[in-house]
Amino acid sequence: MRILTYLRQVLDAEESVRITNQAVALENSKLVMDTMDEYGVEEALRLRESGVETEIIAIAVGPARTQDALRTALAMGADRAIHVETDLRLDPIALSKVLAQIATQEEATLIFSGGQQADWDSHALAAATAERLQWPQATWTSALTLSGTTLTGKHDADEGSESFTLELPAVVTTQQGLNEPRYPTLPNIMKSKKKELRKESLDQFNVTPKLKFLAAEIQVKSRLNKILDGKDAPAAAAQLVDLLRNEARVIA
């Protein structure tokens, strides 16, 4: 079989966000593979290590720099990578058209993608791709096994979690708790340099986004920052309760 793991390159969580010209500026910031997507790469590798015969293809859509994230996936153990190179920012609905077409071309039967994107804060790509392919989906998966063509796992729902089974082909979204992604080792980084990283242009996918990005701003809510010293616990407690009752008026 063939597994596609979709990944994004995003701002490292420790980096602060900057805005220039009404958009988030990423120049000179540390960029990494979205952690949520890393769980997908790792899960594909684990399925293979558990005996599933599969090729693992990492795929990303984005500007030239995005290939660094794909290189990381290759160094973790993915077999090859596809980079659809574009400077356009595509919304998840438009993006799903690219992903679905690649899944069809590559005859993939399982797609992994992160539960929520750390840049766009979106959940939509997986479901949109599944719909285009007419496949089922399992989102927010926290445990997964594959036997034959049957996926068995656990995932989070509105209230609590559910155990499920699902027949391939399917789209699965990953999240923290599913596994512990590995660090690429030096020999594997060296080996990955010889792996195929294919470039594709966006043109052939016939994508016409219906969403425009107009502006971005950082609205920092100013906070009072009244921080008390708690060495004298009863005194600090009394002062805090007084502030909450009589200044903020948030408790009775």
């Binding site: 804060d121 979106s122 027949e167 009863p234």
Partner: protein
Amino acid sequence: MILIVVEHANGKVSKSTWEIVTASRELAHQKGGDTSITALVLGGGEGSNIAPIAAEIARATDQVLVADLPALAQYDPELWSAAVAQIATEGEASVILIGASRSGREYSPRVAIKLDAPLLEDVISLKASSDTLTAQRYTYLARVTETIEATSPIAVVTIKPGIYTPATPRTESAEQFDVDLNLPTPRLKVTGKNIERSSRVGLTEADIVVSGGRGVGSAEGFTQYVEALADHLGAAVGATRAIVDAGWRPYAEQVGQTGKTVQPKTYIAIGISGAVQHLSGMNKSKTIVAINRDAEAPIFKIADYGIVGDVSQLVPAILTELKK
């Protein structure tokens, strides 16, 4: 027509739906006089209680469509998206409003694809003009507010819970119609459920949320400090991923990127460091209170009030003070 999909639990319309009613009324007003608001109620099967839900929402919209079908006994993204897309097509809806709950965000992209429409996801504001729909939403782990615009005669929108003021019902009721649907067979087979519902007020509906992190020391510490304070204040309880992973608390209480997003009037963080992934789930709270022994903890940067000190001394002292 604006179509709103009704979220309900235990025979009642959810608060998030009353918020969506407000959003739909604002939109209808901007779009002009003859824009009607239709509510769609999905559910059914044994022991379901759809009639009171339909009656409740009939007092807020112009028309109610009820699909009370055994096949809809359990939520499934393929079923829900098929149902909503069918009704939207038949009714020539221009905007479809869905709650940005986990399930809403899971099936809404399918609706958008079926209708060949853009998706405005998890929005906090909406503005309609004659041929565009503009929205604001949070991005970059809720650190950035972005403005997006849909250019299409039809759009699917999910509304972030806790932003719009819940609408108040009218006295008169709109007409209700039963609808029949062509539904697919769900392919995700749910073999077990682990429902986590607490006896307290819901996390996303509470005015006050008291949350605990690793600094509470143990599962017992959470009960002793966080739950005790929450119960005294009539608050909901929340938790960090660290202590959910440690098994101290159920996942349903997790706040953050991979948990729930909350915007209560007051958020009290006890023994929580303030990692960006946690902050993204609570940084829009009106007033933030933090207790942490590390004066450098990032949580203090976004706190309005706080005490640097030990949880085991401070929380009991606060409880004593509150009971005075």
